[in-house]
C-alpha cells in the first residue's frame, strides 16, 4: 500500500534529518551538567596540585570524588562528541572524509571516556 502520510506529517516533530531536537537537547543537557561538574573538577585539580602520588591516589579513591569524577567524564566526553560532530559537519565537505572523521570522533570520545573511567575505578578498587 502506498504511503498515505503527507510530507508535512512526516517532517513534523523530527525534521528533515529525522533526529528532531535530540542533538540540541543532549548538548544542552550535558552543558548544564558540565557547569557544576567542571567547577568540582577544577577545585579537585587545584587541591591536588603539587601533591605526592599517595595523596593524589587516596583522594581519587575516595567514593564521592570517584563518583563525581566518573559523572564528569561521562558528561564532558558526550558533550565534546556532540560539539565536534557539528564542527565536522560544518567544515568537512567531502563525503568520505566527513564520514571518516565522524567515526573517528565517536571512537576518540569513547576511548577517552573508557580509559579515564577505568583508571578511576582501578584507583578506587585499590589498584
Amino acid at each position: 500500500m502506498a504511503d498515505m502520510t503527507t510530507p508535512l506529517k512526516r517532517v513534523r516533530g523530527l525534521g528533515s534529518a529525522r533526529s528532531g531536537t535530540d542533538h540540541f537537547w543532549q548538548q544542552r543537557l550535558t552543558a548544564l551538567a558540565n557547569v557544576p561538574l567542571i567547577i568540582f573538577f577544577v577545585i579537585l585539580v587545584i587541591s591536588l596540585a603539587g601533591e605526592s602520588y599517595e595523596v593524589v591516589h587516596d583522594r581519587l579513591a575516595s567514593p564521592w570524588v570517584a563518583i563525581f569524577l566518573i559523572l564528569t567524564i561521562i558528561s564532558i566526553t558526550h558533550h565534546m562528541r556532540l560539539g565536534m560532530q557539528i564542527v565536522i559537519e560544518d567544515y568537512v565537505h567531502g563525503e568520505p572524509q566527513r564520514i571518516l572523521l565522524l567515526v573517528a570522533n565517536i571512537f576518540f570520545a569513547l576511548i577517552v571516556a573508557s580509559a579515564s573511567i577505568f583508571a578511576v575505578l582501578k584507583i578506587s578498587f585499590g589498584g
Binding site: I38, V120, G127
Partner: protein, 132 residues
C-alpha cells in the same frame, strides 16, 4: 548555458574575512575554538588519571610534564579555554531563555564572557599557587 557552468559561476556569498570583526562574532568563533581545544585537552585528563592508576613511576612522569614550563603554559591555557567555554555556554543559556538579543545586552554578554574568563583564570591560578 549548461547546468555545470551555471553552478560554477554562481556568486559566492561574502565570507568571514571581509567583515570587520565585532565582539559577538569574535566570541562566537572563540567559543568554537576553545571547544575544539578542550576536545583534545581531555587527552591530558586521561593521561593524568591513567598515570595515577598505573603507579608511582607513571605518575611522576605525568606530574613532571605538568610541572614543567611547557606543562604550566598548557594548563594555564587549558584553564582559560575551560572558563571561556563555560561562560560562553552560560551565555547561550541566557539566549535560550529568549533574553539578551538586543544590541546592548548581547555586546555586554560578549564582553562579560571575555573579561570573566580571563579574571576567573587568573583568580584560579592565584588560589592554586597559594595552595601549593
Amino acid at each position: 548555458m549548461s547546468q555545470v557552468d551555471a553552478k560554477a559561476n554562481r556568486p559566492l556569498s561574502p565570507h568571514l574575512t571581509i567583515y570587520r570583526p565585532i565582539i559577538t562574532m569574535v566570541m562566537s568563533i572563540v567559543h568554537r575554538i576553545t571547544g575544539c581545544a578542550l576536545f583534545f585537552g581531555t587527552l591530558l585528563v586521561m593521561w593524568w588519571l591513567v598515570a595515577a592508576a598505573s603507579g608511582p613511576d607513571a605518575f611522576a612522569t605525568a606530574n613532571g610534564f605538568f610541572g614543567s614550563w611547557i606543562g604550566i603554559i598548557i594548563l594555564f591555557g587549558y584553564t582559560w579555554a575551560l572558563m571561556h567555554h563555560m561562560l560562553g555556554g552560560l551565555r547561550h543559556f541566557v539566549w535560550d531563555s529568549i533574553h539578551g538579543f538586543d544590541e546592548k545586552p548581547r555586546e555586554m554578554l560578549a564582553w562579560a564572557t571575555l573579561i570573566g574568563s580571563v579574571s576567573l583564570t587568573i583568580l584560579l591560578w592565584i588560589v592554586g599557587l597559594i595552595v601549593i
